[in-house]
Symmetry: C4
């Protein structure tokens, strides 16, 4: 009986499979609470909202922390229902260091820490920012976040290569601009790290305009850096977009129909295509 309740609790707390209505409802409730928490953290920084709805927002925060604490404790308690975490002590400890479970802890810790350790106002304020980490609790349910994680993992090599190229370009652009513009703008180009702010703003094409070369040589160099660099800095974008498309294609693969052996895309999505394929094959 005790075991059955624990197992059911575990099932309900994990993302619900089709048909398990209770679990689905609990998932939806938790997700809604997370989203509302993020909205609350964002809008309570607006003075008008704070002065008018402050007490309600505080009550909502208390309520959220309560729910998330109960959720966390129930998870820890019921995890032994899973074969992998059977052992009441070591199993639970291994369960507690799983990334998603650590995030569950981080989501409630900012509330309890100031109660446990004396803190000044500044530290407490920074801690409130950490309430935003609750957004990562969505990772358990959100396919978007999981997708992003998988893309970053799959493309880690390519992204690393792109990053190295970008870093080298950044160092050279900043150093040469520092030597060229230092005398004309001793403030903005006081050092190479300071010049890096110009480089990043230029190479990402953000271009605030708070720093820009003023000497003819600086403008020549700046134009050169912009022309060369913009292409290089778009590499990570291209890698991410490519990875995204590949992942989306991979998603579509569970439809059972024959698939293109080259790109992994479904063959015969449109009937006419499939026929063409058969026709082309027979022709040989």
């Amino acid at each position: 009986m005790y075991k059955a309740i624990r197992k059911r609790t575990f099932e309900i707390l994990e993302p619900g499979h089709n048909g398990d209505l209770t679990s689905k409802i609990v998932d939806l409730f938790i997700m809604l609470l997370i989203v509302l928490n993020v909205v609350a953290v964002v809008f309570e920084t607006v003075p008008e909202v704070q002065s008018r709805f402050g007490p309600y927002l505080h009550a909502f925060d208390l309520f959220s922390v309560g729910v998330f604490t109960v959720e966390y404790l129930l998870r820890i308690w019921s995890c032994t229902a899973d074969e992998h975490y059977r052992h009441p002590v070591t199993g639970r400890l291994r369960f507690m260091v799983r990334p998603m479970v650590l995030i569950d802890l981080l989501a409630i810790l900012p509330f309890y820490l100031p109660k446990l350790f004396p803190m000044d106002m500044r530290e407490v304020r920074v801690l409130r920012l950490f309430r935003l980490l609750r957004i990562f609790k969505l990772g358990r349910y959100s396919t978007a976040l999981q997708l992003l994680g998988r893309i970053l993992y799959n493309k880690k090599e390519e992204l690393a290569v792109g990053l190295v190229v970008m870093l080298i370009l950044l160092v050279f652009a900043s150093s040469s601009m520092y030597y060229v513009e230092r005398e004309a703008q001793p403030e903005a180009f006081s050092s190479i790290p300071a010049a890096m702010w110009w480089s990043v703003v230029t190479l990402t094409t953000v271009g605030y305009g708070d720093v820009s070369p003023v000497t003819p040589l600086g403008k020549l160099l700046g134009a050169f850096v912009a022309l060369i660099g913009v292409g290089t800095f778009a590499l990570p974008t291209a890698i991410l977009a490519n990875g995204f498309m590949q992942e989306i294609d991979r998603r579509h693969k569970d439809c059972g129909q024959p698939r293109c052996p080259h790109c992994g895309g479904p063959i015969g999505r449109r009937k006419s295509d499939y026929k063409t394929y058969q026709y082309a094959s027979k022709a040989s």
Copy 2:
């Protein structure tokens, strides 16, 4: 006889098929009127144009509303010629709630509303903006608008994923920048929603320069956000471009020739390619 006129009216008002010259001419006339209406709405806001051509523009608006009203009424009257909307009352009502027909109503409503309900000048002025909705009447004829609609529909999942990732990044960039720059720039970073303006301007690489980090830590964070975020914010662009290419390819499919089973593109567009294909097939 009455039925024949009604049927012909319906045919003429619907986008004309090849060969139906009268319908084509009416289509072209309506399209021209829509485009001229948009041009008029845009340019009547220029004081010099208003003072010089004001009366003519007003007359043109009256004429347009008249034409569009007649068009709308004729559509409603003649729609019973279509099998789907046969019933004189319920059929017409079902026809009236079709998106394109609702747009036809919205295109003339801004003219009649102030006549029906008393309104102050401000409300009337905003209503005039709604005259721009006439542009969507083009959707009946414009393949470009239909194409865009289909792309957005086909890629809705991918776009939703991209949007979630962007929103999360936006919340984190804004929140951390708010905590870092708040003291140095209490005006521009007065709250997290205010900091979101900086985030959007930076992450889309627009970079007006009205708000930008000034503290060293803020610049470090800003550089980091720009480097990380620019790639992520380009995802929807990549999705749209990808969907656009796929739709364009799909368009080309009505040429009867064998098609590539992998990508849906036409095989043998160039003769040499087709030969190669046969050669490759025979070789097996």
Copy 3:
């Protein structure tokens, strides 16, 4: 004899084929002259250059016009050597209206026009800008310009669709921003056409910062426009890039080896690939 000279003149003036050294040298000379002309036009606007090298630049311009005039007259004289333009009068006239030959005329006309018709200084100055049209004479030799022309031609439908979508977005972004920001910034948003400057600067992500929304509602709308619009405005870029890649691939086709029937790319560029292909074919 006369015919032979005329034929040889025509051959030499047309872009030279492999082996015809004289024609190649003449081509190179003309190309160099064109490039130097563009450089001269660009740099003679620098006051220091004008005051120091003015007379030399003027002499160089006279020399260039002389050469280009002789080239133009020789072309017209010798074109009857081509079968298509055999007739001494109608053939020559048909030759003269060919785009590349018209450009040859436009390249020298700015020099002769002020001699033929009295002009004030302002008009003469604008005419000097037209000397830059000489750059298009390069089109006869430059594969880059020919490539760009072919891409624009091949992708004209797609680009038109992209343009329509962009125009509609532009009209809506400008109109709504005009209604929202007009009161706060009566100068920058004085009319919808004025607001279009903001729209273009934002949607292309240039973002000078000379105009940007200041009201909260304007910022919300601006953020929305930036997020939505940036993706749409990148469509032409994607179309151009796609067309560019396709044309480059098509270029590589003259290598005689079997080619991929799907994408037109060369098969077997690397030996291992080719083997795989044969292996895959045999397996069937």
Copy 4:
């Protein structure tokens, strides 16, 4: 014995193959030293760092130059162990002009030059910038830099075409803007080369905002240039991204499995795909 030491020295200095632990450790040490050198050059320009850690940084520079000098001399001495550079004089000379070995020399030369030739402070300061060239010593070990080099080499034709198109657009945009805005902004648009700064900033979408058109005609032209040009200036980005993807794909080819004959990508990465491929082949 002497030969064996020389051969072993050569092996150790060259990038280590799997299993040669000593060579790997030396590689890692040199790489770490290079990275630390770059970090030192960048941060010693910060006044606070210079005043606090100046002597240590100087000592570190002396140490680095020492190591790199010893490395360089050992390389020159031991290179005769390689069959290609067997000859003690001509072989060594041929070895010394290899790009990577020239970079090794350039990495230490900025230190020795002022000792050999008298120089004023300004020249010495510029020479210090050249210490950054040490970063290219990484090219011997870094696959990222080698990859970038190979992409630039493979795509040199396409990049050249893109560059020509960009240059022509740049000349036209700058010239027309110069003629239009010269009177309103005689400073920023004083000459066509000056106007090129605006063109580059606009066409790369950096958009600092230090120069932007102010006349209505200038804004119209600027909007036109931005709309047309942004797509063109993204071509090199697309070429680079395309080359990057191709190189990454090529990398994955050493896995021994059959490969797609069309795109060079691995077939059968997922088992289901491979089966489909066989099925499709058999069907013929």
